[in-house]
Every structure is written in C-alpha cells, then in structure tokens.
Symmetry: C2
C-alpha cells in the first residue's frame, strides 16, 4: 500500500534529484502544479482547460484535493465529504473501535451526520497557494561557503521566511519545500482542518481484502476506500473537534462519474507523492542495492517470522504485533520489488553508462571541467566511505535510534528495550519521553529475541566495523554461549522491563543512572557517543551531497539540454497516463480492470480473503445494478494505469479526461516500485479501486444510498 514510508536516513531528506522531462516520456512524471503549463495536457488527452486544474487567480480543481497526512484524498460533496483509502483511515478506525463496537472488522456507517465519529489523529489540509521563493532562499548563500555552512544558511533562511509568512497569514499553514537541490524553493500556503470524522468505512474484509498477500500485487481486488468528512467551527474556520462544529464547504469538490473508465482512457491524478530518487547517481543506487535494502529486507523478514512464530499460539500476542508486522512487511515487499527491478533493468550499470557520458561532456570543455569536473568523483568518494562502514552504520541503527518521533513499528530499531534505554540516558538532559506506542508494543519473549538478534548482528560485524559499546558489553567474547549469558544477565537485571522501572529511571542524571548498575542502561550510555558521531557524519555527508547534487542538476540540464522537474517531495503533484495492462514477465499479460468474479476466485472463509456474505449473495444473484459491465456481466473492482505515483499518493482521486472522479488510487504493482528510482514505461503501473465498486459497495452492502445522493450520483 502506498503509505508514505518514513525514511530514517537523514541524508535522504536533503537530496532531491530529478529526472528528464521530454516529449517522448508522455506518461512519466509527478509534475509540480506550477509547471502544468509546460505539459500540453490537451494533446495528451485532457478534455478540460488545464487552467481549470490550477489557476493561481481563481478557484480550481486543486482545492478539491486534500492532504490527510501521509495520504491524499479529495472532496466529493459540497458538505466536506472526503473520499480516500481504507488503509489511510485504518488507525483512526482502530482508535474509534472498542471490543463491543469493532468498526475495523464490521465496518462503520454513520446513519446521520450526528453519528459521524471523530477520526482521531487525522487532519485535512488543502493547498491554496504556491509562491516561488527561490531567489529569497538562495540570497542567504555566499560564494566560498563550506557545504555544511551553506546548508545551515539555507535552513535558517527557510525558517525565517516561513515564520514571517506565517505571521502574515494567521490560520494558514506555511511550508517551504526544496524542489531542485540548491536551485528552486516553493512556499506552499494551505489551510488545515482539524475536525475530521468517519462517515462510511467498509468492513476490513473488503477494505483490506487480500491483506499482505496481495499488497503490491496486480491483479488486485481490494475495496480500499472510505468516506470521511471535514468539519469547521460554526464560523467556517478550522477548529478542534467540537459538537457545535459544522461540515466544511470546500471551494471546490470533484464530480463523481459512476460510469468509470475503460481500457485505453486518459486519466490523471492529483495528490501528495512522498519521495522519489530518480536520476540519483549510480553510487547511491549501488549503495541501496548492495547494502541498505537487502539488510532491511532480510532483517524485516526475520522480525516478521519471529513475531508470527510468537503470535501463532496466542491470538492476543498476534494482535499486539499486527500493525508492526504490517509495516515491516510493506517495506520488505517494496524493497524486494525494487531489488528485483534493479537487477532486471541492470539499473546501476545503466546509470554508470549515463554518468560516463556526462563526464565526457564535462571534460570536453575546460570551463565546465573547472566547475563540474570532480562532482561525480566527489560523490563517489562519499558513497565509498559510506559503503566501507555500511554494516556498522546499519547495525548501529538497528540497535537504537534516538531521538525519534516514530512509533516503534516504523523504526529501524529492532530492540524496543535498547531504544528505551537510550531514551532514558538522554532524558536526564533533554526530558524526552518515550511514546506510548513504545510501551504498548513491549512483549518480553519477543524483546528477548530481538535483543539477542541485534547483539548477534553486532557481534558478527567484520573487524574494523565493530561497535565498541557491544564489544565492551560482551568483553570481546562473541560466542553464542556468551551472548546468551549476556542476554540473560540484561533481562535479569534491567529495571526497564516494567513501566514502573522505566518511569523511575526517566529524568535521572547520568551519575544517578550509573549508580543503578543496570547493564542495559550501561550499554545505552556507551552507544550514545557512537550515535552522536553517526549523526554528525551524516549531517556532513548530507550537506556535501546537497551541494554536489545542485551542481549535478546544473550540468545535467546543460548536457541533456532539457528541463528538469523535481523529484517527489510530499508536495502537490499531477501525474497522468492511460488505463493500461502490462506484461510483468514472459508469456504473461495482465489486463487493466479486475472484476467481482476475481474477488470470488480469491474468496475463502478466513482472513484476508473472507468476503462478506452479502457480497457473495449479490454476486450469486448477479445484482450489479447500474455498474454492470454488460459484455461480461460482471462488476469492475480495480483499475490499472501507467501514471507515475509513489508512497503518499494513496487516496488520490483517479480522474478521467473531464476531471471527474473515476477511482481512488491506493497502490502500485509490485514490479513498479522500481519507479522510485527510474521510471519504466513497461513496468510502472499504479492501482485504484474502481469508483463503480466503491459506489456499488456503498449502496448495496453499506446501505448508504444517501451518500451517493449527497455526491449527486443518481
């Protein structure tokens, strides 16, 4: 699923690399809204005025697009009704559920607006204005600045500009995003509505049909949609959740077209794609392929199988691990898809050849050579250094990462306990509080296995990449017996296994802590300086790469004599394409629209394929209503298209040539995850739930015809 994947590697956040925009690559690209005029969308198939999508001087389609935090969504009625993915509201539905009212399992329908329940943790943000502030930002940079100094200057200027704008625009959210590294910066001005409520959520057996098995898979049969609603204070302004609040009236909402789309139709998508790494250097790709992704994918696989093993005899334990397993599996499958794609496309090799061409071009002119001559070489050196200690850094991340605002489930830290100990050690100085999630996830038998795993990983690091803190803890005896002894000792003695012990340790000074004689706290104290060193190293790398990246963008634009458009960076983008099948492998063709017959083929009596009885009955009766595909007497379920999406695009409206909503984007095909690194016409495919399935389920299963009426679907 296209949840925004949180990347903990600091370097990523500073790197924006870009890709080629040319007339041939008609279906490639996540275009910034401000660049739409360059696109000639009419020639591609759009049947409305491109200015009606974004018009800086008036109301346009983009005001119907909602950022709900890690996901996208859209308004579908004048009363603030929002259509997005089931997986985007999953946590809110979980939070609203109790053992007596299990909305996740049974689904949720508010019979009247008064029955709509709060979607905890969710907000609805609408981007209203975009301002190019590149000149303002870059005025902070002076020639001759060291990379790290330059980065800091840019950061400071961005903070200053943001603060100023924020003061001028009370009630608005202001954010400045780097679009092209060291080149262009855009200020996004938006409004954030804080009262969001659940209107209709299908049961999990529909909204999550196929579960982890089908995740990143086409053909797909998941009814991954939900309806929520944005509320404002009685004055129409953003307000905290309150009974007196009223539905928000958006300036624009999307027209829902109940006729859906057909193979070959032009479609486009507006949303908030998170992060792409197109045209990164071959050095970056090689590092990802050789070190980071296989390490994380393998470790996640181990963590998942360990948690599954522990959960098998005990349903309560399995439930405790559920969300964590889901997140780990999502990342694992994404990485394995990418690794397969990189190997299949020989991506590193391909990128190397492109860079050889670029270097030749640079070297051909003495002036170019003076400016750009060593950019690639310097980049290579940074990645060489990273590679030379890659396992050290990855294992250190697995041991513990602080500070972190992420729930334990999304963290790279394998051992909750070491993470807690690290927080405890830092708490004396910084008063960091461990999040509730860290404690909720705690399960001693699992924690013991996790702890042993990271200690073993550290114990088997090659000479020269050893983690000193672990060497000290193990007294340089790396035998399995000694590791077992050490793990036993830690679990026998640490105070951190219980909430009380944890509470008592928090906020103590280092001296007080060391008096406890707690072996886990001792380990964390020894790890802290190593982690600080790693943070510093990464900040330095990041600043250097940021500067090199800016130079690279510069010279590549000259070399290719083409415009660049920025990588995805969680800002509003448009992508377009056609409804289109693909051939993922030899002798295999997958067509672009799945059917309810396919749902029935997968249906079994247990999770994740347990279709509700009412849907089975409706299928048996062939009661497809107005949504029937007459040629095959079937109901469309999901749609595939060659638009260019990534994590964060979940919940984005799929629109037809007239800008009418015909589906809700929620995933990519497995082979397409490679498009985070390189767009590939043959493999890059995204997946939406078909609006016809959404409407049919809402009407026939959910008995919520009134929502269809509200959307103007007759």
């Amino acid at each position: 699923m296209e949840l925004l994947m949180h990347r903990r590697v600091a370097l990523a956040s500073a790197l924006f690399v870009c890709f080629l925009l040319g007339p041939v690559a008609g279906d490639e690209g996540m275009y910034p809204i401000t660049e739409l005029s360059k696109l000639n969308l009419k020639a591609k198939g759009l049947k409305i005025d491109p200015a009606s999508i974004y018009n800086p001087k008036g109301i346009s389609l983009i005001e119907a697009i909602v950022n709900i935090g890690g996901c996208s969504a859209s308004f579908v009625s004048n009363d603030g009704l929002i259509l997005t993915n089931h997986h985007c509201v999953f946590s809110a539905v979980q939070a609203a559920s109790t053992p007596e009212r299990d909305y996740l399992t049974d689904g949720f329908l508010a019979a009247t607006r008064a029955d709509e329940v709060r979607a905890r943790g969710m907000t609805a943000q609408i981007t209203e204005q975009m301002r190019n502030v590149s000149a303002d930002v870059l005025s902070a940079v002076r020639d001759g600045m060291e990379p790290i100094e330059r980065s800091k200057a840019i950061e400071a200027r961005i903070a200053e500009l943001t603060k100023k704008a924020q003061a001028e625009l009370p009630g608005k959210t202001v954010r400045i995003s780097e679009m092209l590294a060291g080149q262009s910066y855009v200020m996004f001005i938006s409004t954030t509505y804080r009262d969001v409520r659940l209107a209709y959520v299908p049961p999990r057996s529909i909204g999550e049909f196929g579960g982890e098995d089908d995740n990143w898979v086409w053909p797909r049969h998941t009814g991954d949609f939900s309806f929520i609603r944005a509320y404002t204070g009685p004055d129409g302004k953003p307000a905290d959740h309150a009974p007196a609040n009223v539905p928000y009236h958006p300036r624009r909402f999307l027209k829902v077209n109940p006729n859906g789309v057909n193979e070959g139709d032009f479609i486009f998508i507006l949303g908030y794609p998170g992060r792409t790494y197109r045209h990164q250097t071959s050095y970056y790709l090689a590092y990802e392929e050789q070190y980071r992704m296989p390490y994380i994918a393998d470790l996640n696989a181990w963590r998942i199988s360990t948690m599954e093993e522990l959960g098998r005899p005990d349903r309560a334990v399995a439930l405790k691990f559920d969300a964590r397993v889901k997140t780990l599996a999502n990342t694992m499958k994404n990485y394995r898809g990418k690794l397969a794609g990189m190997s299949r496309l020989r991506l590193v090799e391909q990128r190397r050849q492109e860079e050889a061409g670029l270097q030749k071009y640079i070297d051909a002119d003495p002036q170019r050579r003076a400016i750009y001559g060593t950019v690639l070489e310097q980049t290579r050196k940074i990645y060489d250094e990273m590679s030379s200690r890659a396992r050290y850094e990855l294992v250190l991340d697995s041991l513990a990462q602080v500070p972190t605002s992420l729930p334990a489930s999304a963290s790279q830290s394998v051992s909750t306990l070491v993470r807690l100990a690290t927080i405890v050690v830092e708490s004396g100085a910084e008063k960091v509080k461990p999040s509730a999630a860290s404690l909720a996830d705690f399960h001693e038998p699992a924690e013991r296995l996790f702890f042993k795993k990271v200690i073993t990983l550290a114990a088997t690091l090659p000479e020269g990449q050893r983690i000193k803190a672990v060497d000290t803890a193990l007294r340089r005896d790396y035998s399995d017996e000694n590791i077992n002894r050490y793990v036993d000792e830690v679990f026998a003695k640490t105070v951190l296994r219980t909430p009380e012990g944890l509470a008592s340790a928090l906020g103590k000074t280092p001296a007080e802590l060391s008096k406890l004689g707690d072996p886990l706290i001792a380990l964390a104290a020894d790890l802290l300086p190593l982690q600080q060193e790693l943070r510093d190293v990464r900040a330095r790398r990041s600043a250097e790469l940021s500067k090199l990246s800016a130079l690279l963008v510069d010279v590549k634009q000259k070399y290719l004599q083409k415009d660049f458009i920025p990588d995805a960076n969680s800002t509003l983008r448009l992508t377009y394409g056609r409804v289109r099948g693909y051939s993922p492998a030899d002798a295999t063709y997958l067509s672009p629209i799945t059917t309810l017959t396919g749902v029935m083929q997968k249906t079994r009596d247990d999770y994740p394929y347990a279709t509700p009885q009412i849907v089975r009955d409706l299928y048996q009766a062939k009661d497809f209503g107005r949504y029937r595909l007459p040629k095959i007497n079937d109901l469309p379920v999901a749609v595939l298209y060659d638009a260019d999406t990534t994590g964060g695009n979940s919940g984005s409206p799929l629109m037809n040539a007239k800008g009418e909503l015909v589906g809700v984007n929620f995933d990519r095909a497995w082979g397409a995850t490679i498009n985070d690194y390189a767009w590939n016409e043959a493999y890059s495919r995204s997946i939406a739930v078909d609006i016809r399935y959404v409407l049919w389920l809402t009407e026939k299963m959910g008995k919520a015809a009134f929502l269809l009426q509200e959307m103007g679907v007759k």
Copy 2:
C-alpha cells in the same frame, strides 16, 4: 514434475473409475491405444492415418514410444537414441557422477558412443502387443462370491494367465492391467531392454532451471530434456550391460521436426500416464479433500522446513536431504494445487449433484433398483468408516509402514528409525532387509525431530482414535515434558542408531529382541499388530469398493448412454489437444510459448536460476540459429497445450498433426493438477520443452551437432 507419484494407500490400486467420453469433450481423455478407432482423430486435426499410430498387424508409431519406469520417452534415431526428460534420468546421472566428474552440475556429453556411460537402474520397455483378456479373467468369478473372495479369484486368474503367457513368450514382459473395474482386462506384451546409457545430459542449471520454485508453474523455462540410448546384446536381444553390446535398432523411431509448433496447432502425446481418479464418488473426493491431502501436505511442509532448517548451516546435511525434500515438495505442491482446484470448482458438491441424478435414475426402475439401488449408499458407508478413523490411519502410516520397497524419501513414514525398528521386528520371521537408502538418509538430529513429531501427532489424536502402542509407550501422559523424556530415553537406549546395532538386531527372533530391552523395538513390536489390522481393513475395503465400482461403471454407462474409457493405469495411452494459453485467474492471460528472454528475466547468479554463461552470451548475441521466432527475434523455450496428462507422462513425445516430434512433455500447470480428479477445459494444461530449445541447446551449448545429424535434423 510429472514423476509417477507412488501412492501407498492400498485401496487406490484396486480402484479404477472412469469418465465420460463424448463428442464435445474433444480435448479430454487418456485413450487406451486399442480404442483409438472410436476417436475420429482426423476430424480433430490429425493429418496422418490413425492406423499408423497403432496397427495390431504391422509396425506403428507406438513402437517408438518407450516406458523407462515412471517416465515415458521416445526413440529419435535408428540407433536407439532416446529423448526424455532431465528429471527422468536424474538418479542415473547422480549415480554416474563422482566428486571429480559432477555430471549433474556440469552436464554430460559422450563424444563417441564408446563414451556413453551406464544409466544405472534404467530400462527401456516397448509395448508391442495388446490382447483383450477380459473374458478369460472374468471367467474366474462366480455369482454370490463375497467381495474379498471375488478379488482374490481375479488376482489368481491374472497371475495364472500372466505366467502362462510369459512361458509362451520368452524374453518378453507380460502384464495384465485392469482397465475398467470388474469389466475389462488387457494383456500388454512388451520387450524390456536392460542396457541403457547416457548420451547427452544438459547441466542441471538448464535441465532443472527454476527448481522447486517453478515446479508445476507456467510460464516455464526449464530445459527438461536428456538423450539416452538403448543397447542390446550382439544378437539384438535384451542383455545386461556389457561392453560388447550394440545400439538397439528400434522398429520405429520418431521424426524430429525442428520447426516446432505454433499457437493453435493440433498436437498429440503417447505415453504411460500413471493414475487418475476421474468420476470417483463424491465420498472419495471428500475424504481426499478433508483428510488425506491436507494431512500429507501439511506434514510434508513441516518435514521440508525442518530439513531446510537443519541443512542451512551445513551444506553436507542439505545435500543429504536434497532428494527427499524434492519429492516431498513435489507432492505437497501437487496436493495444494488439487485442493485449490477442488475448492474453486466445488468439486465435491458438483459430484454430489451428479450422484443425486444417478440415484434418481436407478430408483426409477424396479429392476435397476434391485441391482444398483444401494451401490452409492454402500460406498458412502465405507468412506464414512474411513473418515471416522482417518486421523488414526494417517498417523499410523506416518509412524511406520512395512513392508516397503520404496526409498525413505517417497515413504509416508516420517521416522526412519521407527520404520527400521518395524523392519527389525519383522525380520525375525521374514528376513526383510532394510534398503540402503534407509540407512543413507539417517541423520540423528533430524531423526530426533521426526520421531518427536510422529509421537506428538499420535499423542494428540482424539479419544477413540488413539494408537495403543503409543499410549503404552507414553504411559498415557501426553504432556510435552513426558514426550521429550520418552524421546530422550529412546535415543539414549536404542541400538538402531548405528549400522552395527541395526545389523546385530536383524534376523533375531521376537524373544531375542525383547531381551534387548530396546524401547524403540518395543514400540515397533506393539505397532505391528495394529499395522496388520490396518492392512486387513484396507484389503476388505478395497475388495468391496472394487465390486461397487464395477456396478457403478455399469449403471453410469446406462444412465449416461455413453462409452466410458478407463482411468490412467500406467499403460500406453494417447491424448490430444491444441497449443493453447489460458487464464488462471481474473485479469490474467498466459500465452502458450515461452522464450529465452523469459529465461533471462528469471536468471540470477544462484540455484535454481543460474543460467550457464554460454547461454547468456548466445542470448546477448541473439544467436538463435534456425530456431529463431522471426516476429519477436527470440527463441522458443517451452510449450503449453490442453492435452490431458498426468504423472508418468513425463518424457512423452509431443507430436504435431503429422506425428513428428515437436517437444518433450514434462509437467502440468499448477492449476491443472486437479485434472487427476476432473478434467476442466479452462484449467487443464500440460507443459513440454520445445524441440527448438532442445536442438538449440544440444547444438550450441552442448556442441553435440552430431546428435542432430543422427536424428536427421539438417
């Protein structure tokens, strides 16, 4: 892969149930060669005289078809050259290999005939004559015989007729097979050549490309072929392996057509399909679906993962388990395919409805009712009884099965040790020797886990299905602690863990054995009477079902007013169809010819996808020779068609409308394994390696153009 799967359930061998032959089902059926005249093959697409396939009075195509024991094959030259599957010669290649000459890994090519090495354990049998002996066999049956008496009378008459014919036909192999239960019997007269040698075997990376991952999978890219050669004594008669032997000159060999086939082409196959269960009763199918297949599939899964776990840190151990894991996985995947198919097609339910119709037909006529009225009811009762103690019988089989001629790898016994103990206990009376394979497979840590597994399975049987011998051994304490204690005791005390101990125990009388005080031998002694009881129960069931089955065939033929043709029973059969893709699932279409590009897509650096460098280079150079598919500039690799095959058809020649060889059959698509129970036009697909891939590899990779010359391919 289509190895003949050995079924240990005695009942199966006595049950031949049949299926409908009608003009609509044009592509269904494994036709006995003697029935071909009923088929009108010309109308289906055959372009040669059907009499040239089988002519009782002259030389015909069937004399080019070879039964090599569990697999099929065909002569492709006048000098006894035989083309079959790589997996059919696997054991012989393994036996011919040494650590210095690893023919499995590197492949094998005999540069001259003198270099051809013995294919140990292999024989080549050619069916020459078929005689209908139904009247002769059935003359042994008298009215009023009890089922078991009737079965014994038929068995005795078959033995007598076989012995007589054998005496009249020295040098020939005579076998009488039941074709339709209680109705028809055919005598097959054949010649068996005992000197078979390896001529050309591709490396395992080609012949087993895809390994277990791809087994039962389409699209497929396995080069599953090998060339062997039959030899005779200098007098042209069958002879044991000897240097003076000369190549056999078959009376007929197949013409190899290097142009292959195209989508839609008519094809047919001659071979020795092992066993099908079409039109078995719903009771049989329900038993298979609910009890036997899930039990075996789950147990195999456990055995495989246990062996893989043990083999991970130790390559030697992994190799020891290799063949066993392969066999277990093959069966597991086959069963899971069948279970999925049964559930998808609701096969039991479907069969129940057919039977309801049949019962109505029977009941409509008093005379019919008198003869057939209770046939279904009686059958149901037998399966009810089987089901009521299904878990008991299955676990008893898992504990130990004797006597057995099967290698441990194919046995349902989980614990080698209990099996050995059972053999030891029986050896006093019967002088049974444990096979070398039983000892070779022995690995104490694995054996300890296996033993604990079967004891635990027995300990958790429901009340009323308990195994007394295990109850006694555990003294009715079924706790995990007690099981561990018992396992420890057995392994501490038994003499059977070592070859010496085993040898010393063999042949001892029961009294001598009991003096040893060996807990394992005590368990085996207690198990023996239970196993004897089970054998007796099964013989009784089998006889009853055999009689009921004959009546069922009778009345079904009347009811449907159609001819029946017999289920597969390892005798020579013809099946035909067309080269044809299929849609295994919603929105998915698989086309019927794969390519070398597909091989490259799957190629990695490690087993089972490690394509040899020379093939990679030839692909890079697009050096496809005369075998190139011009439209896509690619090389065909495997072919899919809707003919009806099963285990035993491996190695069968795939022939075009002119009877020319265009491929070598080796597998079915996963979804097609259900055709053992019910043919399904939409799912039943078989797989051959394309002759163009065979010839291209033999010529370009194997550098064995002389073999192409021998086959007359220019």
